[in-house]
């Protein structure tokens, strides 16, 4: 390899990135935007959920229950007069759930009970519905415990008390797991999508042939292409880590060095995939589509970034094993939230290294200086 020639190629590639606003957009604007969006915008934690409350006969028995709901930070209580009103409010999507205390609530709770508290949730968004149901159950338990304290009843209404301890993320902030996973998405964008498009453009425009006609070797062309994007990708990672730590207060419990090492491995895999895609497609529109389908979307959907892999059907789980993003996201979430857990990190890193070697091998083998 001739360093002067290589330097020239790298310079050319870097200038191409800096000149094109759309490439800069993908490399800098979109990652920043995604980070802000996932850090501030997107959340799976429902708070201040509007919940309708229909009390048919307000009295001293119903009041404490409604007060418990009011005190909960999860709910925004909307008093409603009748069941019909609740139905209308549900249909208009003003409330996502309502609680219905029937007219005989007082008699039942004081008498031979138990009174039935009607709860209706809009099940369309099943995930939110289940969370809201959980919050309502919590409020109900708090209400029962208070009632018991007042009455000083002998036997406990809850023979078994559950004592949950949540490791790694006690407050269950969805941001703490979304932001680390986002690094995988950002590096995929830069490493695979951008590289695939850029190299495909060279093929499409015929400038690849011009490069080949020059004395540079194929290895120099590849390294010249990859190095600037490698730097961009690592820059994207650095940006994510800094924002995660400073702005979003996501803990980093593992070591920074491990994080950088795993990220570099993944970036190599992503670059390798980008190169391979562009050398297969040689057309920007098609290369872009393939890159989105086999790299970007899997990093989003099939990596454990948002959706838990363990809940997927077996066939999909098997597919996820051949996708690099899965290994990276698993290591990212572990290094950020749990620490240097070697039984997770080492196997992940080994698979990523093998994948990187595979993609570069195939790309080199395919891209002899040849014009077909």
């Amino acid at each position: 390899m001739n360093t002067r020639r290589l330097g020239g190629l790298i310079l050319k590639e870097s200038m191409q990135i800096l000149r094109d606003p759309s490439a800069l957009g993908i490399a800098f604007v979109l990652p920043l935007f995604l980070l802000l969006l996932f850090g501030y915008g997107v959340s799976l934690n429902a708070e201040h959920v509007p919940v309708g409350v229909v009390v048919e006969h307000p009295n001293p028995q119903t009041e404490p229950f409604v007060a418990t709901l009011r005190r909960s930070r999860y709910f925004d209580v909307r008093p409603l007069r009748s069941l019909g009103e609740a139905r209308t409010a549900m249909a208009r999507r003003e409330i996502g759930s309502f609680v219905w205390l029937r007219g005989d609530f007082a008699r039942q709770t004081l008498g031979d009970g138990p009174a039935s508290i009607g709860v209706v949730v809009n099940g369309v968004d099943a995930n939110t519905a289940r969370l809201v149901q959980g919050y309502l159950t919590q409020s109900w338990q708090i209400w029962l415990a208070q009632l018991q304290q007042q009455q000083q009843a002998g036997t406990a209404a809850f023979p078994v008390a559950m004592q949950p301890r949540i490791w790694f993320n006690p407050a269950l902030r969805s941001r703490d797991y979304l932001v680390p996973g986002l690094i995988a998405v950002i590096m995929t964008l830069i490493g695979a999508l951008l590289t695939a498009l850029v190299v495909a453009r060279e093929w499409e425009r015929g400038t690849m042939e011009a490069l080949m006609a020059s004395p540079v070797t194929m290895a120099e062309i590849l390294v010249g292409k990859l190095l600037p994007y490698f730097v961009l990708g690592m820059g994207g990672m650095a940006l994510s880590v800094v924002l995660a730590q400073t702005v979003f207060a996501v803990p980093l419990r593992g070591s920074l060095l491990v994080l950088i090492g795993v990220s570099a491995l993944y970036l190599l895999v992503a670059l390798g995939m980008g190169l391979l895609i562009s050398s297969v497609a040689r057309n920007q529109f098609v290369a872009g589509q393939i890159a989105v389908v086999v790299t970007f979307l899997p990093a989003f959907i099939l990596s454990g970034f948002i959706f838990d892999l363990r809940s997927m059907p077996l066939v999909i789980q098997i597919i996820t094993h051949i996708l690099p993003a899965r290994y990276f996201v698993s290591s990212l979430q572990t290094v950020f939230l749990a620490g240097n857990v070697w039984p997770v990190i080492l196997p992940d890193a080994a698979v990523l290294a093998a994948m990187a070697a595979f993609f570069f091998g195939v790309t080199l083998w395919r891209s002899h200086k040849r014009l077909d």
Partner: protein, 368 residues
């Protein structure tokens, strides 16, 4: 009119001439439809857990049996003490640990509160929250039955929970209708986003401009393929959702069709705007991508808009996909008719008029 038809015919030929482009319009949406519909779920059905049962009594065994018997849980190990738990959870072999302590049965028998410790991996906070709600369900049922069987005071009031529109709370019923919108959006934006710029790059746009066609006619010709392809794709995916994935379709098809038409117009308008601004196909592609990713995230497709900060919620009002998501889920699951969705139609129509006007202005500006 004949003139316009000829132009539209030409646009279709330009788009479908190339085999690779044809494939790209059919293959990726199909793969995405299948993979997403199966993969994008928040339901848990296979929670691996460890048991540490130090209780010699029957109540502890009974408690553990309820976990093991639940279809949502899968026991992966039984440990004599809490010692090995950390290692199992750290390397994700188990999501949670159920720890029954030594006095569990004794406390229960004496009417003292018995405690059940649950340790859970919070790395994926949503999974942890859902798993905890499953655990809580099991414990509550145990409590109710224990109280009933041992003469304890039953709770004075119990919750009777019903879920409307999706009684079994299946994630798939939520995700698959959303995918109809997602894939239609992506295909429409891509097709219209590359339409003008492709001709500009190859220089044929100038030739088109010297014909007697007026700018709006040229744009209409450019919009037609996106509209037809988007409509066909949406119809096919909706059919797959109903007949393959078994998502019910209880609302009005007419209401859905009106929503789809309005949605397509606004999506095409945005695509044409991107195409008019872009100087090269690559810029068009990346521009489409730069728009699509945030638009999808801020649409309510996967995460509820209601959970977003107020300022971000205002931004979503400019996103056509936001309204279409409501229309899709309303017609599929909630049984909405045209009247119920007027509140979604008019913003879509407004966005359509605005984006189409902007696109026409941008193309005209490019001409002079």
């Amino acid at each position: 009119m004949a003139r316009l038809l000829a132009l539209i015919r030409k646009e279709f030929l330009a788009l479908l001439r190339d085999k690779a482009s044809r494939m790209v319009l059919v293959g990726p949406p199909l793969i995405q439809l299948l993979v997403f519909s199966y993969a994008a779920t928040f339901d848990l059905n296979n929670i691996p857990f460890v048991v540490i049962n130090e209780d010699p009594g029957a109540a502890g065994r009974e408690m553990v049996a309820r976990f093991a018997g639940s279809p949502s849980f899968r026991q992966v190990a039984t440990l004599p003490s809490t010692e090995g738990v950390a290692a199992l959870i750290d390397r994700r072999a188990a999501l949670l640990a159920v720890h029954v302590d030594r006095d569990f049965s004794r406390n229960l028998a004496r009417g003292r509160p018995a405690s059940l410790q649950i340790v859970i991996d919070g790395r994926n906070s949503n999974t942890a929250a859902i798993a905890l709600s499953y655990v809580s369900d099991i414990v509550l049922r145990f409590n109710a039955e224990w109280a009933a069987g041992h003469g304890g005071a039953s709770a004075p009031a119990v919750l009777d929970v019903r879920a409307w529109y999706n009684p079994n709370l299946l994630s798939r019923w939520f995700v698959v209708p959303g995918i109809v919108g997602l894939l239609t959006f992506v295909v429409t934006i891509l097709v219209s986003g590359l339409s003008v710029v492709r001709e500009r790059e190859s220089g044929t746009f100038d030739q088109l401009l010297v014909t007697p066609y007026r700018p709006w006619e040229i744009l209409l010709g450019k919009a037609a393929p996106g509209f037809l392809i988007g409509a066909v794709e949406a119809a096919v995916i909706a059919a797959v959702a109903v007949f393959w994935f078994g998502v019910p379709m209880v609302g009005s098809l007419v209401a859905l069709a009106i929503g789809l038409a309005l949605f397509l117009v606004s999506a095409i308008g945005i695509g044409l705007m991107i195409s008019a601004i872009a100087a090269t196909q690559q810029q068009g592609l990346l521009g489409a991508f730069l728009f699509l990713v945030p638009a999808i995230i801020l649409s309510g497709f996967a995460t509820p808009i209601a959970n977003m900060p107020r300022a971000v919620q205002y931004v979503t009002y400019a996103n056509p996909m936001r309204y279409f998501m409501v229309i899709l889920r309303g017609t599929f699951l909630e049984g909405d008719g045209v009247g119920d969705l007027l509140g979604q139609y008019w913003p879509l129509a407004l966005l359509g008029v605005a984006s189409m006007t902007a696109a026409t202005l941008l193309v005209r500006r490019r001409m002079v």
